[in-house]
Subunit: 355 residues, 2 copies
C-alpha cells in the first residue's frame, strides 16, 4: 500500500501524522497523554471516524498507564472519567464513543484482575481495534469492488481514505485494492470546504499512490455527473442510524441529491461500528458546529469580510432514501435499511456471543 | 445606496475597483487603453456580466480616442478589429459581445459623420449603456420584490450585486430596494469556489450596506434549504438561450437541482441583453475553462498537492426546467420560456423600432 501511515503505536506512545499540515508538510507528533489525544481529535490532527476510534483506543491506554491508583475501584473510576472526557472531543462520529466503550468494557470485565495486568489487556485491546480496522477496510474494499466495473470512475467527498483510517480507508479502499490487482479505476475528488480534506488529503493520498484522481470544487459535482463522467459516488460515514440515515461530512447530503437526480448509485462505505442502533433516525444524530473561521480564513488568511456572520455545520444527514447501499465489512446492506440493518446487527451479535 | 462604486468614467479614463483585492484591500485602477480593459476583464479585476458590458463600452471609447486615422473607413476598420479582440477576453457572458456590438453599430451608422464627432457619439453611447444598467437593475429589483414577502430569506450564489454591475446588482438589487423601503429581507451567500466571489464580494457588499447576510460554503446549501431557511434562490446570469437554459457561475446548476428537490423557487435575475436568441439552447453556450491554479491555490498559497490534475469550468448551464422564472427589467418571464422569451424580445424589437 503506497500510503503514509496515519497512526502508529510505538514504545507505548501514539505517533500521529499531523493532518492539518498536509499536503505540503509531512510531520508526525508523539502523544503521551490522553489530553493530547483529545486535543489532536478536536483540532483534526487526526480525523476520519475509524482513525478517531483507533486513536481513542490508544488514548485510553495512555491514561490507563498514567493512573497512579493500583486498586481496581479507583482505577476503573479514573478510567471512566477520562473516557467520558475524551468522548466529548467530537460529537458526530459514533466510532469515538464506540472505541472508548469497548476499552471500558474490557476493563470492567476484569474485576479481581490485578490493575497491572488490566493495563496490558487494554493495550492488547487497542492494538486489536487498530488491526481489525485494517482487516475491515480491506473487506469493505472487496465488497465495493463487486459493485464496480473495470474502467469506472467514482466521485468521492471529503477523505475516507488511508488517512481517515489505519490503512486503505473505507470509501477509497476499493481504489487501492483495484490498483493491487491491476484493475483500472479513476476518481474525482470534491475539495470539501471548509477544511478542504478532499484537496489536502484525498487528492494527496491518491496522487501519491499513483491513482488517477481529478480535483474539483464541491460545486462542480453536478457538471461532472451531467457529463456522464461518474459511475458511482462512494463516501465514508460518521454514524448510521437504525433506519439507514447517515451522518457524513458536510456536503454529502447535497451530493446525494445530485446523484439521485442523475440516477448515479451512492454507496456509503462504513465499518459496522459506525451503525448506531440506539439512534432511530438521522434527526437524533448530534451535528457538530465548528468555528466560522474555518470558512472565513484559509491558512490563517482572511478570505471574507471581517466580522461576517457564518453558519458552519461540520456534518449533514443523508436520508436513507438517497442511499443505494451501505457497504460494510460484513456485507452490502440494501433497502429496506431498517430491516436489513437489524438483521445484520443480530447476526453480528450472535457471532460475538459464540466467541 | 450604501455600496462601493464598481466603475466610473472620469476625464475620459475608466476607473475600476480592483475586485481581485477585495474584501481586505480597496483599490481603484485607472485604465487608459483598451488593452488594459481587456486584461482587467480577463483577470477579473472587473467581473459580472453587466459590469463587463459597461467596461467594454468604455474600452471601445478608449480605443476610438486612440485611433490616429481620421478617415472613416480606416477608423471603423481599426475599431472593429479592436472590438473583435476585446470580445475574446471572456467567452461566456453575452453582455461583452452585446456592448461591443452596440458600440460598433453606433459607429457604423455614422457613415459621412466626421470621426471627431463619432468619437463623441461613442462616448455618449458608453455613458448611456452605463446609465441604462442602473435603471435596468432597479427595474429588475422591483420585479423581484413583487415575488417575495417581507421577512423572506434568499440564497444567492456568486456575486450578482452592485459589484457585478454599475449599481444595485441584478440578483441583489431586491435587497437594496427592500432596504430603501424598510422591508426586511435576509440573505445566505454561497462562498462560490473557486474564486470565492460569494465570500469576497457578496458577503462584503451586503455586510457593508448593513443587510443581514450569512456566509456558507457551497456544499451547505442543501442543509439550509432542508432546514426551511430559504424562501427563494436568486442568482445572476451570463447568457440566456432561446429555450430558457441559462449559463451562470459554476455551481448554479447544483443549486438549481437542490432548489427543485426542496420545492424552493429559483429566479434568474438578468437584463434583457443577457438573452441570446442566436443560441437555441444551453448546449451552444461556450463554457470558459480557467486555470486549475484557481482551485489549487488561495491567495497564492498551495492548498492541494503540487501537480494534481484539476477540472475548472467557470460556468455551468442550468436547464430551463429547473428555473421558476427569469426576472428582467421588462417583466417576469415564466415557462414556457421558448414562447415567452420570443414574445418579450419581439416586443422589445417593436419598442426599439418605434424610437
Amino acid at each position: 500500500l503506497n500510503a503514509l501511515i496515519t497512526l502508529r503505536w510505538q514504545d507505548r506512545q501514539l505517533i500521529l501524522l499531523d493532518q492539518t499540515r498536509l499536503p505540503n508538510h509531512i510531520e508526525y507528533l508523539t502523544l503521551t497523554t490522553i489530553e493530547q489525544v483529545r486535543d489532536a481529535i478536536r483540532t483534526m490532527v487526526v480525523r476520519g471516524a475509524p482513525a478517531i476510534g483507533v486513536a481513542a483506543g490508544y488514548g485510553m491506554v495512555l491514561v490507563a498507564n498514567a493512573i497512579a491508583d493500583d486498586n481496581y475501584p479507583g482505577f476503573i473510576q479514573e478510567l471512566e472519567s477520562a473516557g467520558a472526557d475524551l468522548a466529548l472531543a467530537r460529537p458526530t462520529a459514533v466510532n469515538l464513543a464506540w472505541a472508548i466503550n469497548r476499552m471500558l468494557g474490557r476493563a470492567r470485565a476484569q474485576v479481581g484482575t490485578p490493575v497491572a495486568l488490566i493495563r496490558q489487556l487494554l493495550e492488547q485491546e487497542a492494538i486489536a481495534i487498530h488491526q481489525e480496522d485494517i482487516t475491515i477496510n480491506r473487506a469493505i474494499g472487496e465488497n465495493l469492488l463487486s459493485l464496480l466495473q473495470p474502467g469506472n470512475t467514482i466521485l468521492t467527498h471529503c477523505n475516507a481514505g488511508a488517512l481517515a483510517t489505519s490503512a486503505y480507508g473505507t470509501a477509497l479502499s476499493v481504489l487501492y485494492l483495484a490498483q493491487e490487482r491491476g484493475i483500472s479505476l479513476q476518481a474525482y475528488a470534491d475539495e470539501t470546504r471548509p477544511r478542504l480534506q478532499g484537496a489536502r488529503l484525498t487528492a494527496f493520498e491518491l496522487h501519491q499512490a499513483g491513482i488517477d484522481v481529478t480535483l474539483i470544487s464541491d460545486n462542480m459535482a453536478a457538471v461532472v455527473m451531467a457529463q456522464g463522467k461518474i459511475d458511482a459516488v462512494i463516501v465514508g460515514c460518521d454514524r448510521i442510524a437504525a433506519n439507514g440515515d447517515t451522518a457524513n461530512k458536510i456536503g454529502t447530503y447535497s451530493v446525494s441529491i445530485l446523484a439521485r437526480h442523475f440516477g448515479i448509485p451512492l454507496y456509503i462505505a462504513a465499518p459496522t461500528p459506525t451503525i448506531d442502533t440506539n439512534c432511530p433516525s438521522g434527526s437524533c444524530i448530534p451535528i457538530e458546529e465548528r468555528d466560522g473561521e474555518e470558512i472565513t480564513r484559509i491558512n490563517g488568511e482572511l478570505i471574507a469580510p471581517l466580522g461576517i456572520k457564518t453558519y458552519n455545520p461540520s456534518f449533514d444527514v443523508t436520508p436513507a432514501e438517497n442511499i443505494t447501499a451501505i457497504v460494510t465489512e460484513r456485507g452490502i446492506i440494501y433497502p429496506p435499511f431498517q430491516d436489513n440493518i437489524q438483521r445484520l446487527m443480530a447476526t453480528e451479535l450472535m457471532a460475538t456471543e459464540r466467541l
